[in-house]
């Protein structure tokens, strides 16, 4: 299979996956007896008013019609509103009537915060996890190894919200080193952006790095016993290079796979972290949307999260090919 064929096959797969997710989400919220129009209708809500709102939101239609409209909107764009016209250009992932904004706008408002948490935390836990695992594997069965592994088990065993609250207590209130909540956009103040994100990063990283440390350690133990490591040493390479270029390179393959998934999920909204640290991101938006039965926003966000996961999956598979030429496609 050529790279092009492979890519088009996978992209088609992504489209199918997203379609399935859209259908399932629509159907799911249609099963809910909740009526979003009533929540949007205000106080007091008369029958006449309700009917107007229903029509305006399109929820008077059966779910498959709504779904059809939604999908059509993605491809061709659509308009909302009854007495005013709200344009939602293609690709239109829906419109939140409660927030008077297109889902695309809402996502682009909220995504920087989520992306900041996700990317920073991901880098932090990847780096600390891999380094920890590496050190543990090189000092196998030593005190250092046992220490790192115990610490990592502690990480695995801690729910992320507990970690979050604990770091807030320690660094925010007891030591008063860092702000404990909120998000400052990078454009406004890079320094504040950083200081506000350190605690979320640390708490996510503490919980996730553990997995990476364990994975790296076991892979390194495996790889460092392989023949080509001996070859590299026999060439006269410095030990650091042997470990870094020849050992770690292969040991990181499974790490990359897990990382791709984790990053995808994190980018789709770090629900709990955002909640604990009061960061307005995709995750908290989703929770709010669910609470308000804002169906279009829910579907839009779900699709967005799913899109991130599956695209990152594809990306990781491609990166995998670079790291390991044996599985390279094309």
């Amino acid at each position: 299979m050529t790279l092009l064929r492979y890519l088009s096959f996978r992209l088609l797969g992504i489209v199918v996956v997203l379609f399935v997710i859209a259908v399932v989400t629509f159907a799911l919220f249609y099963l809910l007896p909740s009526d979003p129009a009533r929540l949007a209708c205000g106080r007091p809500c008369t029958e006449a008013n309700l009917a107007k709102v229903r029509e305006y939101m399109g929820v008077d239609q059966p779910w498959f019609v709504q779904l059809g409209e939604f999908l059509r909107g993605i491809l061709f764009g659509r308009t909302f509103g009854s007495t005013v016209t709200i344009d939602c250009d293609a690709p239109c992932f829906g419109y939140s009537f409660l927030r008077n904004a297109t889902v695309t706008e809402l996502i682009s408002d909220r995504f920087p915060a989520t992306a900041s948490i996700a990317l920073g935390a991901a880098i932090l836990f990847l780096v600390t996890g891999v380094i920890g695992g590496l050190i543990a594997s090189l000092r196998r069965n030593s005190v250092v190894d046992r220490g790192i592994m115990t610490f990592s088990i502690a990480g695995v065993s801690t729910p992320v919200y507990l970690a979050g609250i604990l770091v807030i207590l320690i660094f925010g209130f007891t030591l008063r080193w860092l702000p404990t909540s909120g998000y400052v956009p990078f454009e406004d103040s890079p320094v504040e952006w950083l200081t506000h994100l350190i605690l979320p990063w640390v708490s996510v990283a503490f919980v996730s790095a553990a997995v990476y440390a364990r994975l790296t350690r076991s892979e390194m133990l495996e790889v460092m016993g392989l023949d080509y490591i001996r070859t590299a040493r026999a060439k006269g390479l410095a030990e650091a290079r042997v470990i870094g270029r020849h050992g770690l390179r292969t040991a990181l393959l499974p790490v990359v796979t897990v990382f791709g998934l984790d990053l995808g999920v994190l980018l789709g909204g770090a629900v709990i972290t955002e909640r604990v640290f009061a960061i307005p991101g995709i995750g908290s938006l989703l929770i709010e949307a669910v609470g308000a039965v804002d169906v279009q926003l829910i579907v839009g966000l779900t699709l967005f999260a799913a899109f991130l996961v599956v695209t990152l999956n594809l990306l990781i598979d491609l990166v995998y090919g670079i790291l390991d030429p044996r599985v390279r496609v094309g």
Binding site: L32, G42, R43, T46, N49, K52, Y56, V276, S284
Partner: protein, 524 residues
């Protein structure tokens, strides 16, 4: 950086900033859909015909853009207001009666659902009106000249003066606000502040509106130079930083009341305790007993539930008398028409007897819907009822889903625990929306009370324009409804706020149980 910059709200040039720490994640400011009280945030940017003056004892309606609180015609069907001189929008254009009319008209647009709609069917022609965006006008509002505005009602309405103080009666320049998203983010201000920036989920920044004239405004004091509403704040960290009282926290205040755990934290810190302000009353927590439920349709069972309720435990589970007071009536203290009575003093044996009489000698099982954040009250209720062999299955739900379900044609609950606070301080706003049979499906009549006598009495009381007569009417209705047993009031919250040390002392009445942000000021 929160907690790191020294010197409170004073920035270099002596500018004072008040920080309001809110858990909200999106704040919209379009007056057509904003449901803030006139004395809270929206009141800072949007003036209206009349507004609230909040004092220790309560709240009264006072003129705002209008010169008086309105004159009613003989038949009670038309209200006339005259506008003051020297009132301007933030861009300097004068505010005219047409702007007010346009503002009210906007609320009729289905594109702007979600606000408070008390006025909508009251104003003539409102039932068939769909907003001004396609050029139509609302016949029931007359603007003979730039300074005068007349509202023609379909029926006389005693609470009308309260309605005219609502956000819907704030002016919007004619023709503006058609880009709904943009206007919600940054409406054109008429109050002492205008919105400088508004980042959803992050913060809204209010700065002084140069075109607001203090001499035209008898309520607002506009103390701080700048007000920042920090959104998406975590309540627990909010409390912690207010207690610590360093940096920005010195000029900060929480927007929503402290919880029991946060109160305990404050109590542990004497210096914070001094700054704590607590209202005498607040939101009414209640349980609606579903009259359509197979078990609770029997009034005896409803009464048994009433008698078995352990209010003391419930109140303590909220954090004790510092956080709540037991409530046994519908109309809370501080609202005209309130009278203290308890038709069902706690009596477990009596509850058992009633159950036996109703044909349930071995007890009953009831389900209870409750919002995720209110399960503590539900559990305390549950253990109280358990004493009378009433088993309660708690079903915690997301609050939106809960209401969406209950009002959306799936009232599959026996009991429904929630809270209520009137949109204005009138017994009407506490009772009619919750017990009028017209609001059974789709409205807030969650107990599904369908009693012709109650309906009739309420309609009479609503039309009553004499305040004293209305008050005594409502007291009677309160007793009447409590007699049906379909409503179980639990407690009134006592709302606690913690201001930073640079926030000038303030008080909070039982209604509205929120700080009056329009008069809050900073030391220095």
């Amino acid at each position: 950086i929160t907690g790191c910059t020294a010197g409170g709200g004073d920035t270099g040039d002596g500018e004072q900033t008040l920080y309001i720490l809110s858990t909200d994640t999106t704040l919209g400011w379009d007056p057509a859909i904003n449901v803030n009280f006139p004395s809270t945030w929206e009141g800072l940017i949007a003036r209206r015909l009349t507004t609230w003056k909040v004092t220790d004892s309560g709240v009264e309606v006072v003129p705002d853009l209008a010169t008086d609180t309105g004159t009613v015609s003989e038949d009670g069907l038309s209200w006339t207001y005259t506008l003051k001189d020297g009132i301007e929008f933030e861009d300097g254009t004068p505010i005219t009666s047409a702007d007010i009319k346009y503002g009210v008209e906007r609320t009729y647009s289905p594109d702007l659902a979600g606000g408070l709609h008390y006025h909508q069917s009251l104003i003539q022609g409102g039932d068939s009106y769909a907003g001004p965006f396609d050029g139509a006008e609302l016949d029931g509002i007359e603007t003979p000249d730039d300074k005068t505005i007349v509202f023609h009602l379909t029926t006389s309405y005693g609470d009308w003066p309260w309605l005219a103080a609502m956000n819907a009666f704030a002016p919007v320049p004619v023709g503006e606000g058609t880009d709904l998203a943009a206007y919600d983010e940054q409406p054109i201000a008429s109050g002492p502040y205008r919105i400088e920036s508004n980042v959803a989920g992050s913060e809204t920044v209010f700065v002084r509106n140069e075109h607001w004239d203090q001499s035209t405004d008898e309520v607002r004091t506009a103390g701080p130079d700048k007000i920042v509403i920090r959104q998406s704040q975590n309540p627990s960290t909010t409390a912690q930083s207010l207690i610590s009282d360093t940096g920005d926290a010195k000029t900060s205040i929480n927007a929503y009341p402290l919880s029991a755990a946060e109160l305990a934290l404050v109590n542990a810190d004497p210096s914070a305790q001094e700054r704590l302000v607590t209202s005498d009353g607040g939101m009414l927590y209640y349980v609606a007993l579903n009259n359509d439920s197979p078990t609770l349709s029997n009034p005896l069972v409803r009464q048994a539930v009433q008698y078995a309720t352990d209010r003391a435990a419930i109140v303590l589970a909220q954090g004790g008398d510092q956080a709540a007071v037991a409530a046994t009536t519908l109309i809370p203290g501080g609202i005209a028409g309130h009278e203290d009575f308890d038709l069902y003093p706690e009596d477990v044996d009596k509850a058992k007897e009633l159950l036996a009489e109703a044909g349930y000698p071995d007890g009953v099982t009831l389900n209870l819907w409750v919002a995720n954040e209110d399960t503590a009250a539900a559990e305390a209720l549950q253990q109280g009822l358990a004493r009378a062999d009433i088993t309660v299955n708690i079903n915690p739900l997301d609050i939106g889903v809960m209401y969406g379900d209950a009002m959306g044609g799936n009232p599959d609950y026996d009991m429904f625990l929630s809270y209520w606070i009137g949109d204005y301080p009138s017994a009407n706003s506490y009772i009619s929306l919750m017990f009028d049979s017209a609001y059974i499906d789709g409205g807030y009549n969650l107990s599904r009370t369908n009693d012709a006598a109650v309906d009739e009495a309420m309609h009479a009381a609503i039309a009553e324009t004499d305040p004293d007569q209305a008050a005594s009417d409502w007291t009677a209705i309160d007793k009447q409804i409590m007699g049906l047993g379909s409503m179980l009031p639990l407690y009134l919250t006592r709302n606690s706020y913690l201001g930073g040390s640079d926030v000038e002392p303030f008080t909070i009445p039982g209604y509205p149980p929120f700080p009056d942000f329009t008069t809050l000021s900073l030391a220095g």
